[in-house]
């Protein structure tokens, strides 16, 4: 099924993302939904890091003093993956902040954060 052992970590990401999708879709507690969405972004971040990693004697994407750039480019991990994760974390936190505010507002308005109970209140 997998051409290399290096592809196995993708299964972990797939399971983590699937659990989060399930929770985001089917849990009725808004806070749990928010946590699931936040963890889903972490699963995607993990996917980026896995993709940018190198096996063996990999070094971080910071060039050591005196190292030749060609040698550095051949052994350092992919900086693009790290870059995307940094930006994704910031956007994820902005998303969590907004969702938390919405959940607090919902609780103050309805007295509950259970979607099932909120639906009943609407009737």
């Amino acid at each position: 099924m997998f051409s290399t052992v290096g592809q196995l970590p993708y299964v972990l990401v797939a399971i983590m993302a699937s659990i989060c999708i399930y929770a985001a879709l089917f849990k009725s507690n808004l806070f749990k939904k928010m946590l699931a969405i936040f963890l889903m972004t972490d699963a995607v971040n993990l996917l980026f890091i896995i993709q940018g990693y190198r096996l063996g004697n990999a070094i971080p994407p910071i060039i050591p003093p005196g190292m030749d750039p060609s040698e550095f480019a051949s052994i350092a991990v992919d900086p693009l993956a790290h870059y995307f994760v940094v930006t994704a974390v910031v956007i994820g936190l902005a998303e969590v902040a907004t969702l938390t505010a919405l959940i607090i507002y919902t609780y103050k308005h309805y007295g509950t954060i259970e979607t099932k109970k909120i639906k009943e209140l609407r009737g």
Binding site: A14, S70, P79
Partner: protein
């Protein structure tokens, strides 16, 4: 009975979804493959012999953040701004910072002491981000931790004594953003004034666009062009943003 069925369906959903995602990931290369674009950044980020494409930052991630992919980071900063603005929109006008007793004397004294250390480390992580892991966002998060430690141990009412309230934090956040915007626009102003080509958020000179921020400071220390000042702007923006967020989201009902 109903819960038992729901659990089975849940497990079935997770297994099905995992299989679909795993199948989708099969097309991805395995660990150990760095894309040519990633290798381009690694090769050029601190390459003295090819200064047309370098970012003057030994840390390739920092070089990517504010040089190669500066626009992405700029828009990400805007997203963060909008996120905090949304939180402020929900709770604005309710944030009266009342002083309460706080924790014990030992905790309060320790918090005052470590506040200075945390702020110092936030600046260090931001300023040295071109050589070591870190950056404006990481420094800003640490800066917010210092204020959160004060809020938790000494109560949020202590912040006005430190000359900080929600309004001032908003102003500081906007000042950080203004620093970023100013550094972004400077090359455009230079271009208009000199008649030569320069681009918004341009960091270092190119063969066809001579504008560039200084790569070395007077005392021969690496500055990475605009990277350090723009990271400081990002640190203030993020640090104050998180402080506002924490202040507003932790308001108790009686304070509303």
């Amino acid at each position: 009975m109903k819960d038992w069925r729901a659990s089975i369906l849940g497990v079935f959903f997770i297994v099905l979804m995992s299989s679909i995602l795993t199948y989708a990931f099969l097309g991805y290369p395995g660990i150990g493959f760095v894309r040519p674009l990633g290798e381009f950044y690694l090769f050029n980020t601190y390459n003295f012999e090819n200064q047309s494409w370098w970012s003057a930052s030994p840390n390739a991630v920092t070089g990517l953040l504010w040089d190669y992919r500066g626009y992405d980071t700029l828009y990400e900063t805007m997203v963060f701004y909008v996120g905090i603005a949304a939180v402020a929109m929900f709770f604005e006008g309710h944030a009266k910072l009342r002083k309460t007793g706080g924790m014990t004397v030992i905790v309060r004294s320790s918090a005052r002491l470590i506040f200075v250390f945390i702020i110092t480390s936030a600046f260090a992580i931001t300023i040295f981000s071109i050589k070591t892991p870190g950056g404006g966002f990481q420094g800003g998060s640490i800066m917010a931790i210092a204020y959160i430690a004060i809020i938790v141990s000494l109560s949020r009412g202590f912040l006005p004594e430190m000359d900080l309230d929600v309004e001032k934090a908003h102003l500081a956040k906007i000042a950080g953003l203004a620093l970023i915007a100013g550094l972004t626009i400077v090359p455009v102003v230079y271009s208009l004034a000199s008649g030569s080509a320069a681009y918004a958020l341009q960091n270092l000179p190119k063969a066809w666009a001579p504008f560039g921020y200084p790569t070395f400071l007077g005392f021969a220390s690496l500055s990475g062009g605009l990277i350090i000042p723009i990271q400081l702007g990002e640190m203030i923006h993020v640090g104050m943003g998180f402080t506002i967020m924490f202040l507003l989201l932790t308001l108790k009902d009686k304070e509303d």
